[in-house]
Symmetry: C3
Subunit: 350 residues, 3 copies
Amino acid sequence: MEHVVRNAWYVLGWTAEIGTGPFARRVLDEPVVAFRRRDGRLAALLDRCAHRLVPLSLGSVVDDTLQCGYHGLRYDDTGACVHVPGQANIPPAARVRSFPVTERYGAAWIWMGDPEQADPGLIPAIERYGAPGWTVIWGAPQHHRSHYLNIVENLQDPAHTTYVHPGTIGNPASSDIAPVIEESEGHIVTYRWTLDAEPPPIDRKNANFSGLADRCQYYHFFPPCTSRVDVVTMQAGQEHTEANMDRGLRAFSYKFLTPETDTATHFFWLHVRNFGVGDQELDERLMRDMGRTFEEDNVIVSAMQREQDATGVRQLAWLRIDAGPSRARRMIEKMAAADAAAAPATSTAS
Amino acid sequence: MEHVVRNAWYVLGWTAEIGTGPFARRVLDEPVVAFRRRDGRLAALLDRCAHRLVPLSLGSVVDDTLQCGYHGLRYDDTGACVHVPGQANIPPAARVRSFPVTERYGAAWIWMGDPEQADPGLIPAIERYGAPGWTVIWGAPQHHRSHYLNIVENLQDPAHTTYVHPGTIGNPASSDIAPVIEESEGHIVTYRWTLDAEPPPIDRKNANFSGLADRCQYYHFFPPCTSRVDVVTMQAGQEHTEANMDRGLRAFSYKFLTPETDTATHFFWLHVRNFGVGDQELDERLMRDMGRTFEEDNVIVSAMQREQDATGVRQLAWLRIDAGPSRARRMIEKMAAADAAAAPATSTAS
Amino acid sequence: MEHVVRNAWYVLGWTAEIGTGPFARRVLDEPVVAFRRRDGRLAALLDRCAHRLVPLSLGSVVDDTLQCGYHGLRYDDTGACVHVPGQANIPPAARVRSFPVTERYGAAWIWMGDPEQADPGLIPAIERYGAPGWTVIWGAPQHHRSHYLNIVENLQDPAHTTYVHPGTIGNPASSDIAPVIEESEGHIVTYRWTLDAEPPPIDRKNANFSGLADRCQYYHFFPPCTSRVDVVTMQAGQEHTEANMDRGLRAFSYKFLTPETDTATHFFWLHVRNFGVGDQELDERLMRDMGRTFEEDNVIVSAMQREQDATGVRQLAWLRIDAGPSRARRMIEKMAAADAAAAPATSTAS
């Protein structure tokens, strides 16, 4: 895969997706299968039996092992084969790769690179997760048919919302305000404040603003795979202190990108907010509206990918609004180059 | 693309297909988008934004410009970008190709080659279009999964109708009469008269012949893309003068081929006739029956294309009935070679 | 195609599949069309007209010939063109390959190799076919998306049934009993007896066993394409004579593999049994249950093929249970190599 960072945590799936049986998903162009042991811990293996290459996800979970659905070979959480029906000895080749996997924030996180470096402390922190007065929703996983860097650029790009999402988060009033960009080690943020403006339709639904609003959007990016958009819509005319922002409508909208192939990406989103806590109808509306919003992005980035594939070109003209997206992209390309230099790709067969 | 003539007018679509929004169709393996300005005139651009390559057809028409659905860049009818949100200057690279396009005969015609040569006078004339006593129907556009030259050959080939269209225009009586072929500069015609024969089923439906009929079919071809079949079914025993032919059932059946890729072709057909004028039921029947007839051809040419692709061979044995089709093919191949020599293909990315 | 034996009889289809019109199926990566003459005999030709390559299966059967659906060329059972509309002479190139084809056991058998060697005596004999007290069912043809050698291995592999078919023919009790393998010229058999065991669910349905049963499975293989599984479930404690076996539940389950491409195989199965003769409900149940069982194999071998294609690897670790499948495979690979050396592949275009 191109421009991919193997030494990083990626969302393999939501906890709620993973039941009692094997759970399969392709990550960084490798087939992965996860299964849960009796003590509740997850294990993740290469989804390909070391015997005849049948996906282990067609098998079943037996006594804390994953049993192949073809001949019953059983693999433990380290990928070692621990049982071969019909023979006592285990051939040395009967082993599959295992991947560090851990659960946090309602998600299973997988590390596709060097297991030695798989520090759970590197899992991105989620703001206000579990704090009183805040609530969380996990969006239905989406499948975007585009290289993840196109999606990274989209996520660092406030300028597109006016055109791609006119019915929800887009706001015509914001289209001429240039964003501010700040970069530091492993972090980039693009933000802009819109002052004394009509709140966008979606905020109008969620709160009763008496008049105009100040609104900010902070597009944080933590390379290679985590986007956090902080959105505040607050009564216009107040000072922009943390306390005043918390009295407005405030949300932290996370997206976690998990590259599937060079032209497809698993798109996970999760939303933490301080309004309508316990309001199930609002939960459902946000699930639907935000899901639809991100599918609008999917239409754009998928069409873009098709044209990039057809032409072999990524971009032709450069605009001012490209500054943030380009910085994020360069930051990741640099990380990916260092990652590739440090850990050469392993064979996909083993 | 192979054997394609860029300096020619092609039907991009029927006028009735093009509404108020952008209209997209692939022509000569390039993505094209058309839009209508407030004065009613059409514009046609490459369907690929000069910024991030997103298809412009995902955007919208705003003030006589086409606005990209991603970041709101606006292009005028010349392909020049005239507005970039968030900045005053327009980068020189922000420009897409535009194509000459004009409307006539209820169709939008596009010129994919050198714009300097796009003389509207070269649009094929349609016989009796708008003349009193004649009426026109426009068939639903079809998509034939074959290189257009296979379809050209089919259209210059009276011999196939007996076998491909037994239920409509085919006539067993005609199958042993060799056609006459005449060729001149930019025109080829294959024709045959069938004398004192039973009229085919479709004519029996459209008129009350008391007995036998004389029937002629002229298969005109105007390379590279226009076929006109003149069909007369007249009472047997009369002299074949123009006046007598007009007293029979007479129709001019046009097909306009628009190559989409090397293995697919947009197939437009249009039918001018002097019988049943104002008869809406007949219009509907012809729409249905002729559409079905050409889909019968589609089945054949698409299957032929698959076998040609599988074998790398176009034809194995040569028959007498191939004379007309082969001449049309050679005529076009010669045109295509001259066209390619005069105007080297432009990059597909710009 | 890889590892394919051309000089062999393959099932083209069941007799019941072939009606009055042309019947098309791809065999050994060649398009084949069969048609029935008025005397009832079948003919089989390459499904590609020698004129413009249109599949002859789009045409029709006329007077013991196959008439092309494009221009009416007619081919007899030898593949010679015997009629070209519009001309008296037949061009020498107007000829398609014909294949020996014969019907037996309710199946049409085709020979894709050297016609001189097509001895009908080489068609596999079907045990007890038509004998009193025995009945036959023909399964609905299946399409397995895997190279046929993967399926051969599966068919010579008793070990998989426990895991792939737990609901039908699988039997947990049998999983630790090593099979016996015997090989002779053009034949390999793997078998095992399970003694004093609970009969599997499917046998419980078909007979009233008072207690435990002895059960044997013989996995015969007649390379390159025929598998016969003999299954007996008999009251435990009796001597295993032919007569005693016939008093139990006994069946001969045939599978005939017809390679379609390098990654797909037509899978035909046929079942001869000595119980429930005339019981239509049982016929229907077996049709459904056995069909479902073989589709369970299809899921496995198709997934395996996808992983083999993705990795370029067939197998990684080797187990004791691979002995039988590997022998069958090597036997076929040897046959295929000899076959390829004797008869170089003909052009696919003619």
